[in-house]
Symmetry: C2
Subunit: 296 residues, 2 copies
């Protein structure tokens, strides 16, 4: 007793400070917060499921993606980190839950782990990807069915739906992952982030930080704003441009107070209008905002 019994078994009354969330923790939490933002018209949220794509699949996807996110933070090849993240994500019955979100997150996670989470730095990382990254990207399609557009004429050999079978062709032609993204800029909102310094992700992060109230409510608001600004490229792929433009107009009407976002959420689910790319950008925005101090 006179000899500080606390020294026998450890630091006694001393208590270590809590562990802080790591970059990977923030990426994982961003995936979980994205699906929790409600209402997020046409997407899975706390109040909406599709028959074969439900809330719990996104939870399992967010847990399963972690080894790939760790690779991104640890400096492994971005393509490989993405492919491993997708492989882990796919270990639930719905298949593709967060493919696009992981694609936009991976360069951001790398930039953050280097201590320089800016659009310019993430854009540089994207631009520096190689043929090996492109091969990883194609391999990722082996793990899940992803709805994609038909490739431009004359580029069938590089159709992502060929998956790993396209790798020798990629390598012959010296196509880098950034080349693939540049090729897809017109038809894919995630590719546009890769080739445009992740402008919408960072802009939406600022808005998440500026808003007040519970984070899932802010997430719902920013999702609607993103959707009202630009047609969702996943809706274009699954339906057509007209449907996507109408979805954007309907989101704008809800934002303007001329429609109820909750009603819109039910309508979109019923019509199978799933603005998944906008949800992916929302996940990226949540990650950037968490890294910049968004409190939960």
């Amino acid at each position: 007793m006179n000899d500080a019994p606390s020294d026998r078994d450890g630091p006694g009354t001393h208590v270590e400070p809590p562990p802080e969330r790591t970059v990977v923790d923030d990426a994982q939490l961003a995936l979980l917060l994205e699906v929790t933002g409600t209402p997020k018209p046409g997407n899975v949220d706390r109040a909406h499921d599709y028959d074969d794509l439900r809330f719990e699949h996104f939870l399992a996807g967010g847990v399963g993606a972690r080894p790939g996110l760790e690779l991104a933070a640890d400096g492994d090849r971005l393509g490989r980190a993405f492919e491993r993240a997708v492989a882990g994500m796919s270990q639930q019955r719905a298949g593709n839950t967060q493919f696009g979100a992981l694609l936009v997150l991976v360069p951001l996670v790398r930039a953050a782990s280097e201590g320089d989470l800016t659009g310019e730095r993430a854009g540089d990382l994207a631009a520096a990807t190689t043929v090996a990254d492109a091969a990883d990207f194609y391999r990722a399609f082996e793990h899940v069915d992803v709805a994609v557009e038909d490739p431009p004429e004359g580029t069938d050999a590089l159709d992502v739906r060929r998956g790993a079978d396209a790798v020798p062709d990629l390598e012959d032609r010296g196509v880098t992952l950034q080349d693939v993204m540049v090729e897809s800029t017109e038809i894919d909102g995630i590719a546009r982030e890769w080739t445009g310094e992740f402008a919408r992700s960072f802009d939406a992060a600022d808005r998440l930080l500026d808003l007040d109230g519970p984070v899932p409510d802010r997430t719902s608001q920013v999702f609607l704003e993103l959707l009202a600004e630009e047609p969702d490229t996943f809706v274009v792929t699954q339906h057509d441009r007209e449907t996507a433009e109408q979805a954007t107009e309907r989101a704008a009407a809800a934002l303007a107070g001329n429609a109820d976002p909750w009603a819109l959420a039910n309508e979109f689910v019923a019509e199978g209008i799933n603005p998944g790319t906008t949800a992916d950008l929302t996940a990226a925005a949540l990650f950037v905002a968490l890294e910049r101090g968004l409190e939960i």
Copy 2:
């Protein structure tokens, strides 16, 4: 081209199998699935929040707990793994979200990581805890406010609300963590698991595996069954035994089809009846079930 270009940049068309979920992944996923089980009367779920305790706090808690869960899987002292898990969990604005769930999970995670996830083995691990584990347990109370009963007369020195200040007294008296649990068996359903080979957790896991349908629906069902079987000790602590017994009767009525579980969920939230210990046991059951092959 003739020389297998795929060998230059990796395994070419070869695709590695997906990473499997680890024990820690399953523990984290169990925490996330628990809060997703809906309706779970009186607890936060997809359809219910309390003003200061909301769905997103459980997500951040489940992410933050991970370093502690890793320690449990890696063979560190159970008390220390628990204290670190609680410290990480606490890094969100609601404070205590999953204290009890982590307490019941930590021995189960250790048992699973050793490849022997049985009630007997988890009970042996609990029984083998030391004074150092008890000191860790008390330190965990420094990170969060946990509603607890007044200690038995004459044991004020060991009141958990003293937190780390009680550590020298614990050490003087040679109180182990299992001693603390034995002392609390009558008043705490988690302590009863620690001293009773985690019987209810394993039994509920079997029921989760036997049911059909989406896991959150099964989770809701098993939660109701657990609540209908025994009064929730957290409700006893926050209110009184009579309220807890009535809550159990109301859960039984809902199970028997004489009341609507969704209505009960709204009533319990309105009345501030929060069967948190039953939710903690549900998280433990989900972990065991995931380890035994529950598919999401």
